[in-house]
Structures are given as structure tokens and as C-alpha cells.
Symmetry: D2
Subunit: 141 residues, 4 copies
């Protein structure tokens, strides 16, 4: 990882609703957290994903997702989500993520998602130039 | 309750994702189940809520919700959701619900929701006549 | 409301996962947010709900819930959850909540929940003295 | 795929709560559906996952997950989840899944999960013999 790479970082506490009867966070919630990190990364690049959708009819739909669970997350744990843009090519965006427990920096999960840029009708579209440039500069080389 | 009242009834198994670390269904999921029952009631009246939204731009937005929890629901329990239309007035709809465990008919929860009819911009609108008539006939007098 | 009343206040952004196809937050998520506010209130009183469960086998199970929806919440909105303890009697706890949009202080929803104190087997139990005292002082008179 | 392979098949309708503001099912819900399919596969092999947990303290914790999204799922769509056991080795279980829209058999998503068998303290454990034999016979060779 390049030291200068831009990372979207968010931290919040695990909600009770996110646990399951094993006493840990139910595994699909990590996917929700990935997205929270992804959106914070965009915000750090100067964009609100909300505006991308509303103003530019530009949506980044997930097409591929990979996740490796390393350690369970518990209720009320403070977790840190870090998201990075790994690659961008045409209308394909590739992000990577890691989720750590804030208290002891234990890695809880890591993963990657691939997205295509689509309009609100789910038709493949071009990423507008302003995003393209900002994203290109943020790619984790 | 009138014996001839129309009841939307659905049954399904509790999902693992719906449990929490107390080992029971997390309480907000009952609200999701209420909706599943509500939609089945509409289907039984001859309508798909999906069509109400897509074809008639007619959405029933919840404005008030009341829920009494009677007994915990457990993972893999088969639950039965029963929904009834209690009242209809102008663009106000009032539904009631009960959730029971199929195995022993234990009442798990009961509640009511009030809805207003709105268009996709959340502006109050009239319930189209075809719904109004079918709904009026279904009201639990 | 007493100016000196203790209020648990949390703020966070609406997640994409919390929206539905009406373009607003799906209504059951407000229940999850109520809980986030409730837990922050306890933290402000000096307790972690996690410890109440783990160390004192003391769980506050919801038995009644009431919610009035005032205005829709949107994706990426920053929302503020405020929770107060309205009443405490034996092993009954009564909380009230309001959810506002941070940007313009619009009230999005308000509601109340009633809880009983139970052990991990869902048997009614006494609230340990340390909680009882702190809670009594926090009741919104 | 072997024609005689045992497949856990479930079908249900997409819930409104599962949609997001793009008007399609939010992507983390497919993970929840995978699990519903996995549990039905176990049931078809003669076991309830609930009993595995309660009676044999035997939990199958996910360690790796892969998902490819092919087409969006919509509200009220009837979806079919098919789960198969791809491989079993020591305390590792490898499942594969496909999710199709019932109406036209369109493939919506496919994926794989890897699980380890653990006890309630998340310590690696052996799969009891009765499961091992039934699972071995069900592996999709």
C-alpha cells in the first residue's frame, strides 16, 4: 500500500440489531459497513454519492463481492472501516476494504467489491469526467 | 372480529439474520413482518401492492405504528402473520396484525398501523376507486 | 421537558441499506435507531448496556412500542436521535425518543417504548440497585 | 452438476424492506438468502440447523464469501434460492448457491461460502459423525 493513498475511514459502534444468536455480528452486515466506508471515501475525494445519484444519474452498482472473515465483531464494539479505490477502468470500479476493532486494532474482515457505473435504468454509462479525474488520482497504486 | 372478515395470512420461518444476541428475533423485524402480512392481505383482495405503486402511483406510507410484544420468536420457528383492514376513511388506512407461532399458536405480538395514501412525491392523494371499493368491502366491521 | 433532564444523543448518517424503493428510510429502521439512542442514554448515565447484559445478566426486553412518523428521512441525511427515560417503576422502564434531521432540525419521528427487566432466560428480574439509583435520578420529571 | 445431487431449494417473495432507493434489492440481502437456502439444504439432509446448534453445540461459521450479481431483484418478485454442498474436508464446509427469479428463471446471483465448524465459543471443533456421513453423501461430485 502506498503511504499517500487516500482512505475513506469511518468508525461507529456495533448496533444490537446487527448481532445474531451466536452473540456476534451477523455476517451480512459487513457488506453494509463496506458501503458506509465506500461512501466516506467518495466524500473524502470531494463528492457525495447522493449527488452522484441525484444530479448526475450515476450509480455504482455492485457486480462482484468478496469477503474474508477474520474475527467476530461484538455488540457495542467500536469498529473502523477503511475503504480504498484499487482500480478504475472504463466504467468499472474496484474497491478494497478492511474492518478492524478500534480497541485493539484486530482485523475483523477484509474484502473487495467491483462495481459498474449505471444510470437509474441500470444501463451501463460513463463516469462523468469530474469523478474520473478525482478517482484516478485516488487509485491505490 | 367478524367471522367473514378477510385476513391476509402468510407463514414463513424465522431467519438466522433476524435473531439477536438475546437468542430471539430482534424486535424491529416484527415491523417488517407486519408489512409482509399487509401485502398479502392486498393480494387476497385482488391487488398487488407493486402494481398500486407502479401503475397508479399510489403508496401507503405509514404514519403511526403500535406494537405489543407478547412472547419471543426463535430462530427457525414457523410464524404466521395475520393482517386485517380495520378502518378506511378518506386517504387514511388502519390495519391490525397478529403474529403467532405456528407450532402451538402462541401469540407473539399484535399491533396496528395507520397509513396515508401518497404519490411518489409524498403528496397526499386519493385512493383510486377500484381500491376504495375492494377495501371498503374488506373492512373488519 | 425539564431543562436539566439527561438525554442520550447520537448522530449518524443514514445508510444506503436503510432506504427502500420509495427513496426514503424504510420505517422499521427507526426502531433500530431508537435503540441506538437508548444505549447512548445509558452510557451517559455511566453504564454500558453490554455490561448490564454480560456482568449483571440484566436485559431490558421491549414489551410495547409506539411510533409516529412525521417526515421521511433520506439517504445520507445526518440524523440526531434523542432518548429520555420517562418513567421507572419496579422492573418497568419507559423511554421516549425523538429523531430529527440535523440540517434543519425537522422532526422525523417520535415515539415511546416500554421495557421489562429480564434475565437471559427471559424471566422477570429486579434491576440491580446501582442502575436503579442512576435511573431514578435521570427520570424526566 | 450431477443430476442426483441434493439441492436445498426455497422460494419466497422479495420484501419491501429488502429494497433500496435504486428500486432493487439491496445487495447484502442476497447473503441472508444464501443462508436461508443453506439451512433448507440441511433440512433436506435430515437435520435442523437449530438442533445442530442447540443439541450438538455445532455452529458453521462463515469464513469466506464470494458473490457475483447478475441481474437486479425487484420487490414482490418470487425468488428461488438453490444451495449445494460443494465440498467437505475436516471441519471445512464449502457451499455454492444460485438465486433465480421464479417467473422467468433469470439468474440473479451466484456465489460460494466457506465455513468452519466451531462451538459456541468459536473454537474449532469436529463435525459429529451423523452430520459427517449425511454431508459426505450430499457433496456435489
Amino acid at each position: 500500500m502506498n503511504a499517500s493513498v487516500i482512505t475513506g475511514e469511518t468508525r461507529f459502534r456495533v448496533r444490537y440489531a446487527e448481532t445474531d444468536q451466536m452473540g456476534v455480528v451477523y455476517h451480512s452486515n459487513f457488506i453494509v459497513w463496506f458501503e458506509v466506508g465506500r461512501v466516506e471515501l467518495l466524500r473524502q475525494l470531494g463528492f457525495r454519492y447522493r449527488d452522484m445519484e441525484e444530479q448526475d444519474d450515476c450509480h455504482i452498482a455492485v457486480v462482484d463481492l468478496r469477503l474474508r472473515y477474520k474475527a467476530p465483531a461484538h455488540y457495542d464494539d467500536e469498529v473502523v472501516i477503511r475503504a480504498r479505490l484499487k482500480n478504475m477502468r472504463e466504467s468499472l470500479l474496484h474497491f478494497s476494504y478492511e474492518i478492524v476493532r478500534a480497541a485493539d486494532n484486530t482485523l475483523l474482515a477484509e474484502g473487495e467489491t467491483t462495481h459498474i457505473v449505471v444510470n437509474s435504468k441500470f444501463e451501463k454509462t460513463q463516469l462523468p469526467e469530474k469523478y474520473r479525474q478525482a478517482f484516478a488520482a485516488a487509485v491505490d497504486k
